[in-house]
């Protein structure tokens, strides 16, 4: 088994009445990227600041590289944690040059120091920028310098706090692939915080979904998408609609759309909420169909149809752009799906 980079055990932090982080435990292996995702105010940034040493916890433990940095009895200050951090606004020191910024965290002097700064500049592709001042750089360049500064002392763990949120949308996709490549090349262990699910799925080797201070689920991006353990995760990662169902066989659940194959184990007769993703189902215009198209969103390659079921609940279905149906069309569902649906115990 690979060495652990960061381990949190039952970490809890409250601000007065509100619980920002509640009983969070996880283990991140060395060289992995963990993307923490959740709506704003879910506690992901507080969790990051607890690991970085900028907040004091109420309960629990944090280990970095196997060493305890936070427990009931121990608080190691940030400067002795071996934790690198890249802030949302990059926080480049405005009075220092790019090289001086990168060299700031290095403990060694002389040619070794220069060599390391040179390596980092090459890594981020800004070899000629060493003597520039931060305000002379573009947003994307500042971002990379902040990354190089944090990586230069070779920290046990690198924390990234919403690092792409200050960039324009079109720049963001380009920069994030550059950053991921840099991180993978340096084999850094990373915790990356974002509110953008696309970014989380793209960046993370593992993705942790947080809600109301709790770490709801932590798994690989694919697993998280296909097998959410909680309706919140299902809705937050990807698009999902929920309808009512009753288990009527070993792999079958009865719904108003018909019988669907499901993944999981429930005893027959259990009432469940069934999660439907738009690409899981196929629709066919039929006059006597149970569903009625009530909205249509053109997405270029596809149409996203919103269909009202007899109970009044709605589901969405994705169709190729050639399948153009009018509003009010009655549809039936093609139930011979390859995907199994996910069921949750009824709320």
């Amino acid at each position: 088994m690979k060495r652990s980079a960061v381990r949190c055990e039952n970490l809890t932090k409250t601000f007065g009445e509100t619980t920002a982080v509640e009983d969070v435990s996880f283990d991140l292996e060395k060289g992995d990227i963990l993307a923490l995702v959740g709506p704003s105010g879910c506690g992901k940034t507080t969790l990051l600041r607890l690991i970085g040493g900028f907040e004091v916890h109420d309960r629990g433990k944090v280990y970095v590289g196997g060493k305890t940095v936070l427990s009931e009895r121990k608080f190691i200050p940030p400067e002795r944690r071996d934790v690198g951090i890249v802030f949302q606004n990059y926080a480049l020191f405005p009075h220092l040059t790019v090289s001086e910024n990168i060299a700031y965290g290095l403990s060694f002097e002389g040619t070794q120091r220069e060599k390391r700064v040179g390596e980092m500049l090459t890594l981020i592709g800004l070899e000629d920028y060493g003597s520039k001042m931060p305000h002379e750089l573009s947003g994307g360049e500042q971002q990379r310098v902040a990354l190089a500064r944090a990586l230069a002392p070779d920290p046990e763990i690198l924390l990234l706090d919403e690092p792409f949120s200050n960039l324009d949308a079109d720049l963001r996709t380009r920069i994030r692939s550059e950053v991921r490549e840099i991180l993978k090349r340096t084999e850094a262990s990373v915790i990356f915080v974002t509110h953008d699910q696309d970014e989380a799925l793209y960046m993370g080797d593992r993705v942790g979904v947080m809600n109301e201070g709790k770490l709801v689920q932590i798994d690989s991006p694919e697993y998280l998408f296909h097998y959410p353990n909680n309706p919140f995760v299902g809705e937050f990662i990807g698009t999902a609609d929920f309808i009512k169902g009753k288990i009527n066989g070993e792999e079958s659940v009865e719904t108003e759309m018909g019988d669907l194959r499901y993944h999981g184990t429930f005893s027959p007769g259990t009432s469940v909420d069934v999660m439907i993703r738009p690409d899981f189902i196929d629709i066919e215009p039929v006059n006597e169909g149970v569903g009625e198209i009530i909205d249509r969103i053109f997405r270029g390659m596809h149409y996203l149809y919103k269909i009202r079921l007899p109970s009044g609940l709605t589901v969405r279905a994705l169709k190729h752009h050639t399948e153009n149906y009018k509003l009010g069309t009655n549809v039936t569902f093609d139930l011979d799906q390859e995907h199994k649906v996910i069921c949750f115990p009824e709320k």
Partner: protein, 541 residues
């Protein structure tokens, strides 16, 4: 096509002609006496200039230099810890300390010098206290450099404290956090990251204090420490050609003052470059002091006791002692009325003179209005003694000499930049769309100024008036030279009594002066807090 557009634009953005005429008149009026002084000084001939560049002047220069360098340094030693403690730590009663440590700003330097003299002079109050138990007969003299430095620093260190507090509050907290995460501890982070961020505030506050020391007359004259201002005054009193030497010395002082001014404005331009471009809404990190709370509290108490509580207590003691010994309150009554009279008049006149210039420079910005604005800065750079002297040269032999009108005119030159700045700032915070709405509803430019611009900047105008009232009340040098004969204000009566060692006689006017200056100070603070009412409305447009 492009030129036609510009022509149209000028039509929209043309200030009413009456505003222009008034602004130009004011500017010419405040510039003329100085030009005249320059002509006289340079026409003074080789003989006078020979007298200027003798050994005595070199020593004056040395003394001035010593004060101008030491006062900002000592102020930094006081201001930096206080600013840091009151903004970045969990020091108990932080707000209260913030206010109390800034208050010495209302004390004029000559009142503090008076307190220092009665308390610390060789046979002063401290010696009396020590004489009993320890048999101390004499203390080392406080006159000269130490007394002048102490007095000037005591009343000017808030010029450094206030910008330092603002900067410390404004620093992006993630800079310090980034430094910590890169392995730097508290002291290393403070030295390498925090302090460099404070550099612009230190430079501009320090230069303001340097300028204050250069211009100060009250403290150095009472401490008999002959810097330029005091030397000029002494020459001015010397018969037979002294006035020509005073004029020449004024030109030298002017040179220094203007260079300090230029340096100060340079640092301000540069500071924009340091500002954190990405506005941060995060509050700065508050450091828990723990056991260090106690030494911190002792330090802050020490500052407040030395610079605020002790001076006021000593004044109170001497006032009661004076009254008990038969000093009459009547003596203070007529200077007090005079002070209120001239200060009120000056506030009114200066505001009227400042309004057109402030409106021109903030609303109808162009080449000519920028030049006008530069000229109003004359009062910022010039020590009161230089302005007073230029007016003396201008008016001597005419009916104007030693009239109230000339005195008020002197105040106008001195304090116009304060008023223009204050009104201009409040105008700049009003969204110009307000005025555009008024124009679109059929009001022309001057109607708009009357019905929209001036009412909206009422707060700025009132606080400018309060500010001018406050500084006029404290003004000493110009008042000494320009007042009508036998016309004493609080400031001049304190100065006369102290320099003639009638200590008990100076205490009551000094207390009155502090009281009167606190009232406009409070008005300014109240307007400061009320600020934002109009701005919020206009900001949401």
């Amino acid at each position: 096509m492009f030129e036609i557009n510009n022509e149209f634009k000028r039509k929209i953005n043309r200030a009413p002609i009456s505003v222009w005429i008034f602004a130009v008149l004011v500017t010419v009026a405040i510039t003329l006496p100085l030009v005249y002084l320059g002509i006289r000084a340079f026409g003074a001939g080789v003989e006078t200039w020979g007298l200027v560049f003798r050994f005595r002047t070199v020593r004056t220069m040395g003394r001035t230099f010593a004060l101008v360098v030491s006062a900002p340094l000592l102020s930094l030693g006081i201001s930096l810890p206080v600013a840091w403690l009151t903004t970045r730590t969990d020091l108990p009663f932080r707000r209260t300390w913030s206010v109390l440590t800034a208050l010495p700003l209302v004390i004029p330097s000559y009142i503090f010098a008076y307190v220092v003299i009665v308390a610390l002079s060789p046979r002063g109050m401290l010696q009396q206290l020590l004489a009993g138990p320890f048999g101390v007969e004499r203390l080392p003299s406080i006159y000269g450099f130490p007394g002048a430095l102490l007095s000037v620093t005591a009343v000017s260190y808030p010029y450094l404290l206030l910008p330092l507090q603002a900067s410390l509050r404004g620093i992006d907290p993630s800079l310090e956090e980034a430094s910590h995460s890169l392995g730097h501890g508290f002291f290393s982070t403070f030295r390498k990251i925090t302090l460099p961020q404070l550099r612009p505030a230190i430079a501009s506050g320090g230069l303001l204090i340097a300028l204050y020391s250069l211009r100060d007359f009250g403290a150095v004259s009472l401490m008999r420490f002959e810097t330029f201002t005091f030397a000029i005054y002494n020459q001015y009193l010397t018969p037979f050609g002294g006035r020509m030497i005073a004029a020449a010395l004024s030109m030298v002082l002017l040179l220094f003052a203007v260079s300090l001014m230029i340096m100060e404005s340079k640092t301000r331009n540069k500071s924009q470059f340091y500002g954190n471009g990405k506005g941060n809404s995060q509050d700065p990190n508050i450091i828990e002091l723990g056991r260090w709370r106690w030494p911190a509290l002792i330090f802050c108490s020490f500052v407040v006791i030395i610079f605020l509580i002790l001076p006021v207590t000593i004044l109170g003691y001497w006032a009661t002692r004076g009254l008990a010994a038969g000093e009459s309150l009547q003596m203070a009554w007529s200077p007090a009325l005079n002070s209120l009279h001239v200060s009120g008049l000056a506030a009114l006149v200066v505001i009227l003179a400042a309004l057109p210039i402030a409106i021109l420079t903030s609303r109808f910005s162009g080449k000519l209005s920028q030049i006008l604005e530069k000229f109003t800065y004359i009062g910022f750079a010039l020590p009161g003694i230089v302005i007073a002297l230029s007016l003396v040269f201008f008016a001597v032999g005419t009916r104007l000499y030693h009239t109230l009108g000339l005195l008020i005119f002197g105040y106008m030159i001195l304090f116009l930049p304060l008023a223009v700045g204050s009104i201009r700032n409040s105008l700049l915070q009003i969204n110009p769309k307000m005025e555009e709405v008024s124009r679109s509803l059929g009001r022309n430019a001057s109607e708009t100024i009357r019905s929209v611009t001036i009412p909206l900047s009422k707060n700025g105008i009132f606080s400018a008036g309060a500010l001018v009232f406050l500084v006029t009340m404290k003004e000493l040098q110009a008042t000494l030279i320009l007042s009508p004969l036998n016309f004493d204000t609080l400031a001049t009566s304190i100065w006369h009594a102290t320099s003639e060692a009638f200590f008990a006689r100076a205490a009551v006017p000094a207390l009155l002066l502090i009281l009167f200056s606190s009232i406009p100070m409070m008005i300014i603070l109240i307007f400061w807090h009320r600020k934002g009412k109009y701005e919020k409305i206009s900001g949401s447009l």
